[in-house]
Amino acid sequence: MFDDVRDLYNQTILTRGRAPQHMHRLAAFDASAKGDNPMCGDRVEVWLKYAEDGAIAETGYLARGCEISVVSADLMVEAVQGQSPADTKALFTAFRTLVQTGECPDCTPALAPLQPLSAVHKYASRVKCATLPWLALLAALDGVNPSKPASSE
């Protein structure tokens, strides 16, 4: 019955949705931020630990939301591992283009872990689900006041 949604709900998404690999709080962290989608109620919180060179050493998150926002957070953790803050922001820009348009003109190998989300662009109302954890991550990188959640609206 749902053959036409297998592009969005592909095997990676379904498997990760059932058993996220990185959904946990970091006991020790350097930065954290929350993300909030006030229109739909999805919430995510992200924690970061930096390496000595300033790259992202470890990322953890907790999310209460749909399959797309949870899996996006889970894949994000892998994509940003070892990336500098600047590279992470560039990665988000490329990822956002991917989920908004399905195209990826500036694709780098770093984007590969996020490719399972490429069909999100066909579901306009779900784009903000995929970008929500990233907005929280960027807010953490920027040291934004953690009490004021980043919003995908």
């Binding site: 059932r18 209460r64 939301g65 689900c129």
Partner: protein, 406 residues
Amino acid sequence: MTDLARIRADFPILNETVRGKKLVFLDSAASAQKPRPVIDAMVHAMEHQYANIHRGLHWMSERTTDAYEAARDAAAGLLNARDRHEIIFTRNSTEAMNLMAHSFGRGMLKPGQAVVISAMEHHSNIIPWQMLRDAHGIELRVAPITDAGELDMPAFTALLADGKVGLVAITHMSNVLGTYTPAERITQIAHARGAKVMFDGSQAIVHRRIDVQAIDADFYCFTGHKLYGPTGIGVLWGRRELLDAMPPFMGGGDMISSVSYERSTWAEVPHKFEAGTPAIIEGIGLKAAIDYVQAIGYDAIAAHEAALTDHALARLSAIEGITIIGRAQDRGGVVSFTLDRAHAHDIATLLDRQGIAVRAGHHCAEPLMRRLGLDSTARASFGIYTTPDEIDALADTLTKIREFFA
């Protein structure tokens, strides 16, 4: 309802397909579809009978004024208001509640008095009172609900015990749980403690005959677009003596008696509360919607929707992993649920691919969601055109969605 097919034929949009699938529209509580008479009345006004109202000294203005004011009579009849001047047109229920918070809240309540709402209000019946609390020193009290999703009457009564409550502003039917609140008991308890009562009837008026005199309400509001009418027009009904005593809401044209730079005086109700050119076409559409609903009759509407709701509760309850949210004894055609294996948004996306439209999210009732320990639910809501087959389609598809996420 024996003539369901005839009713459905009145709603052109029900013939639409969504991605090649027949539209199954189960989101009427968010906004209902429009029958042909409403569409025709609005088009007719724009094509044949339109000018600004209440001010033109010409034929077109006079006829348009008559058509618009006929909507006031229709709304007064719908609510069984004593006096047509008690009907104030607003943009929607949200504006009606903001009008109340401003004109009744600031005009009639004194700092230190309290407003009681319930734990199952739409944001539109929370935020205006919070704004009033912060600006005017009003205490905001929240009457709790039971785990079944009904108003906790002993707790509600206790909230009024100190006599400080000036207004109870409460939903007449929850947009999330489908619960009706016991209007007559609420007004009895409130009036015994000197409080006035405003009902948010946005959902209730769609499903049930409302008699504001019988329930002894002081204010009642609803919105046109959920009652098969257009967007942009709503109604606040209030007792004449209260409306007369309240200061205006917005200032501008139409709401004045005389204007000078030193001092202006206000028009009589309802015009005191209707500043500026109103939603004329929408008012004419609302009249057509009210006429349409009343021609079908609330007995038939209520019977149809009670049968649909029973059918939906039976079918959905039988699906493994589904939890129905809200088990009130007295409830209407709004059914919220969660599914163990899938988030509400994922459910909504998969249902949408089958042409089935439901709402998913917090339904503009975040505090209620917190009370229920939920972030979101999926919600199916029914209208006069909803069929048992559509509910079967929902239930069958939900069963397959659960398998999909196995």
